[in-house]
Symmetry: C3
Subunit: 334 residues, 3 copies
């Protein structure tokens, strides 16, 4: 099973990058190399099984998860790791994050202890923690994930934090790489309506990654839904969804709540829903979404069920993205 007698087949002599944490695109030393690594893992899922031998990853969920939960577990196991999954609040204790708190309320344990203790048991720690959507400053300070970085003493892997979802964004870039039919495709991130106020993590992160990838990137949303400037960067932004769709090679749909009027739903215009008519404006674009998706609210059945929808394939790629990242983290702690 392990490969003590020789190099594993997938070993790439050029790949020397490693990552001590994976919280954003800024942690990636070689973006193109990481995408290629994910595609190599997809070709040979068990080629690096020796790397994780006798290593343990802890996956901590403060919030719901389907794709991230299963794909990261699968990725770690493909790399030969042991996996310990914990729904933090349900399985263990309510955590306190405030420094200097007098803990006489309903939080039984401080993150200082919890993170450090979990660091005693795990070689890598994955953390999922959604934003409050009430306190913009707190959410954008990434208190939870940053305290794990500070106190765990182990590499931290974001499983979606308050403001970013980097495993999703890497997956999206890998998927675009697989489906693109021209060197520099037009990629459109479009806001779409929703019944609940949702985090900005996925669009923030997608924008952050697209801004450094070799794509023609456009963001379209109603007025008032501007992403935080550090995420939208130099992307083209338009309030005209139809104009944005024209000639697009990839439509990436996602709802998010307002950053300006923080956490609020300030528009629920169904005209922003992605329909067959709108898809007809594109260059036969592929339809992408991180899932879960509200059918006939965010996007019509006809689009999701069309051959141009690649959302399931995209979700499948979550494994290979996670596997590439964990591989580089394992390399860093060898």
């Amino acid at each position: 099973m392990s490969t003590e007698n020789g190099k594993p087949k997938t070993e790439n002599p050029q790949l020397i990058s490693s990552m001590k944490q994976f919280l954003s695109v800024h942690d990636v030393p070689d973006l193109s190399g990481l995408v290629q690594e994910a595609l190599r893992q997809k070709q040979n899922p068990f080629g690096d099984e020796h790397l994780g031998h006798h290593k343990t990853i802890g996956l901590l969920f403060f919030n719901s998860s389907l794709r991230t939960r299963l794909s990261t577990q699968k990725a770690a196991e493909n790399l030969g790791m042991k996996v310990m999954v914990m729904n933090v609040t349900a399985d263990s204790w309510g955590l306190e994050f405030e420094d200097g708190a007098i803990m006489n309320g309903n939080k039984a344990e401080h993150v200082k202890e919890a993170a450090a203790v979990i660091g005693q048991y795990c070689d890598i720690i994955g953390v999922r923690s959604f934003p409050t959507l009430n306190d913009r400053e707190k959410d954008y300070s990434e208190e939870v994930v940053n305290q794990f970085v500070k106190y765990a003493g182990r590499p931290i892997l974001s499983l979606e934090s308050s403001t970013r979802h980097p495993l999703q964004s890497l997956t999206d870039l890998v998927t675009i790489e697989e489906y693109k039919t021209k060197p520099r495709p037009k990629v459109v991130l479009t806001w779409a309506p929703h019944v609940k106020a949702l985090p900005q993590a996925v669009p923030n992160s997608f924008a952050e990654w697209m801004n450094v990838a070799d794509v023609d990137f456009v963001i379209t949303h109603p007025e008032g839904y501007e992403l935080a400037p550090q995420f939208s960067g130099n992307a083209k932004v338009t309030y005209n969804q139809n104009e944005a769709f024209e000639g697009a090679d990839f439509i990436y749909a996602k709802n998010w709540s307002s950053y300006r009027e923080y956490g609020k739903i300030i528009n629920s215009d169904p005209a922003w829903r992605v329909t067959t008519e709108k898809m007809a404006l594109t260059n036969d674009a592929k339809f992408m979404h991180c899932l879960p998706v509200r059918r006939n609210v965010v996007v019509d059945d006809a689009v999701l069920d069309s051959p141009n929808s690649i959302v399931i394939h995209e979700a499948g790629n979550r494994v290979w993205a996670a596997q590439a990242v964990i591989k580089q983290m394992l390399t860093a702690i060898r």
Copy 2:
């Protein structure tokens, strides 16, 4: 650990059957062969450990489970598989099952996506989903498990669906095979009282399996508790419990709610409880129950704690039944 150099000891040259799904007895090409396979797995639990190498089973629970949860996990691990367990509603998202729904309620994801995505991560998917007991047509259409079959793109293993519990029924048949003292034993399924309205899945499924097994099968229950005709089939049915017990070799007790007055408790007569006096009418019958069982409501302590009670042994056989089934599913996807 694996047996690449030779045939594993348990290999049965006659066994060529394989199963692409396991939802009912109708999916079993060779019933007697499957029972024998379970008994072989029991003799040699790790003899087929190579079969599941690098394969993953996902076990999805929409409802509580003890025996099914642990025995199926154990079976899959004995076969060398990786296991990912998920309590769907608690761990991930509320699922929508209606086709064409405008998803503006409290369901965040459609089964079309959820099933297909889980299919990206798992080679076999087990699903437990209880009936509503409100809507007979919906329950008997097996909406949940059938949508997983339709959309997951992977073999589906029922961990108990709205109307059937085939892993339990196979276990029961294996247990009867072990304990029978004559070629064609008399097997009696008896209704018993309960304080809650329970599904018909276990008795439906038990009847379905006994009707094709080589046993003399009798069902006894109060008037109004008739099972759906497609399950009771040609079984002898009597409202006279004492008459049914006479000469029985196996008493299989179970409560269920009414099929006719769907999901209702229409009788709670304690006279239907299984007692030592009633067991004395039998041919020294073994007492069986799928568990969990309400002591002194369904059956007296004196019966459950007697040497003729084989309920724990029966529960232990859940591992070997699951192992036989998963082995045949692995064979199908090789």
Copy 3:
């Protein structure tokens, strides 16, 4: 991976003790040998990986757990075992523990069946169950864990029961062994304030272990917080916390509710909080706590964040303590 060709490096020819259960210090045939075994496991975590091959441990949680959950899982996996974790109430059924109960209430399954069935699937069973804090006699009879011992037919490992937490106490002894600077250090168990009524399990168990270890053991608490006599034994007990701290080498802080006025908070005097000033009375003592700990209620930030705090190291040792215990249990069932 396994060591069929030779003895594993850590094999200690003197070690012949084995344990059929681990509920208290009374189950340990050789206390010093067990401490040394834990330290050996720490030096060579995978040296006994062959021992657990094809063995399964079930970890059953009736209550929250972080350290015990993860460290026991890690320990079992280091020993090559498969691990099945179950949150009993959430994942399966409410359990009845009363003998002879007519089960027409909200408990769906009796422990007689549940324990015996889990025993069919697991080679060793770990159980965590907190006390009611309402019914002293019931709690101190250790009903839950004792019924698992009685009915499971498998070795039972306490993951903290109503009145004891032996894995924690062994960890504490191992940690004291590592940090002590004299043959017979002074170890002080001090009560500290808390906002919730907590079990006596940790202080009971700590006292029980310290009373047989080679340490100078002192307990200090406010009047009315006397531990049950069978646990405090011959330990020195004082109501004067300052006096107790004088010359101490280890301060072990913990809140507990009253045994006398059972389960009640009868004192919440903040003067009992462990502070830098109090630590200054000691012989440069190390600060210990089982965690989770309420910062600035039980102990000040300044103490927990000082170099003398060894709480994280202590929590890390949970793995090696569990590994030593499970190793001896595996030896017993070979």
